[in-house]
Symmetry: C2
Subunit: 254 residues, 2 copies
């Protein structure tokens, strides 16, 4: 394995920032199992792999693999306990809204303004598990190719088609093509998610962790739904955003 070049290091450092990820259309995946998955799955194109000098990896690597000093890998790593391997991957292309309009049935998950990387990654992971049609990332949502998000997806990055942009615009287009929009909203007036009639084409919209659904998204044709609590005395304010989304996805799928 050849040692990494200075140009590699420069690129890897840049990929910590969203603007460079978008400019280069590249992102990083870290960790032994995560890199193995991405090489196995073949969904994401891997450009190059960087391994800690002297570290044995149990699976075959790319021809385009380079060794890196431990200190350097630790510096580039986004985690507290780096695992000595990372890969530069090509960002998959977003899909077009038209492709989603013609789908016959399914579920789409839209994030209004999820800001915690762990929550977004977990939502992507669950949506992939349930075979959703797509992820829509509304403005204000943390970058789906942020290293912490990628780590929290546990290998599900790139599994689902995705699209980013103005959520109201996208939702209106989908609604014009018979998609029903559910707004996950714990506020009074929302209906328990298991009490609403099932729909063939459901877009589930998840709001911000602290502020919930943006009021600009609320309108009479969109149903507001919640995960009902069984708690007797009201001491727990809410569910975690990724948990609420996951239960809602289970409910609309079953």
């Amino acid at each position: 394995m050849k040692p990494a070049l200075n140009s590699h290091l420069k690129l890897l450092r840049k990929l910590g920032q969203r603007k460079y990820r978008e400019k280069e259309q590249l992102f990083m995946i870290e960790g032994e199992r995560a890199v193995e998955q991405v090489l196995e799955n073949g969904i994401i194109e891997v450009e190059s792999v960087f391994v800690e000098e002297g570290k044995a990896i149990s699976y075959p690597l790319l021809a385009n693999s380079f060794s890196l000093l431990k200190d350097m890998l630790n510096e580039l790593s986004d985690t507290e306990s780096p695992q000595g391997i990372l890969a530069i991957c090509k960002m998959p292309k977003p899909i077009s809204i038209e492709g989603l309009c013609n789908v016959e049935s399914g579920v789409i998950v839209a994030t209004n303004a999820i800001q915690d990387p762990g929550n977004l990654g977990t939502i992507i992971r669950t949506a992939s598990w349930f075979g959703c049609n797509a992820m829509l990332f509304g403005k204000g949502t943390v970058d789906a190719f942020n290293p912490k998000v990628v780590r929290s997806t546990a290998g599900a990055t790139g599994v689902l088609p995705y699209l980013g942009g103005d959520l109201n615009e996208i939702l209106e287009q989908l609604e014009g093509n018979d998609w029903d929009v559910l707004l996950l909203d714990g506020n009074p007036g929302s209906q328990p998610i298991n009490k609403i009639p099932k729909s063939k084409k459901t877009v589930l919209v998840v709001g911000n962790e602290a502020n919930g659904i943006d009021t600009s998204l609320i309108n009479p044709k969109r149903k507001r739904v919640l995960i009902p609590s069984n708690e007797g005395i009201k001491t727990v304010e809410s569910l975690n955003a990724a948990v609420a989304t996951s239960i809602a996805l289970w409910s609309v799928n079953n």
Copy 2:
């Protein structure tokens, strides 16, 4: 507000460690909303509150409140963006197993060896939301009063009765009193959780994030259950442990 004493600082520093939390039977809660909740709920006894010097708090504090320099609070804080307030709280007492044996119906969540503090906190939060009867913390589970766990419960720490110890011993005693044990286990041979008959008294056992349910817990009278995936091609390995637990709790409750 009087300034904090050196003895306070010494205690606060110690409470970062499990052995001191257990010895003193005290733990820390951090953040403006979290401290407010604990003062409001009255479930947890608050011993003293520490506020950043000069910081205005929008709710009434205890008589036993002290000011602390910002640097000192930041040092004591477990978070990357400290909110300038923390409280020392009394650890609630664990319950006895006998109290759970005589319950007529309900759901108990047992953690086999959950190690991620965020996952444990989220599981406690969801179990509280669904009004479970108790939490059982098996050996190998991260301390429920660890600051990261407490933060992830988002105010649900202390809401549910709890008990720690050898999980097999506790489960056997519960099984002798008509509790049915479900093992959440994604391995082959497990049944989809929505296909099993409902039980009046359910203990849901959650395994370790990487290794799943400990084999010593598996026996023929305990049903192994999973959250079925709808994914066509198998690219996603698993759900997040807190998400899987939450969906399972929703399923046994609905």
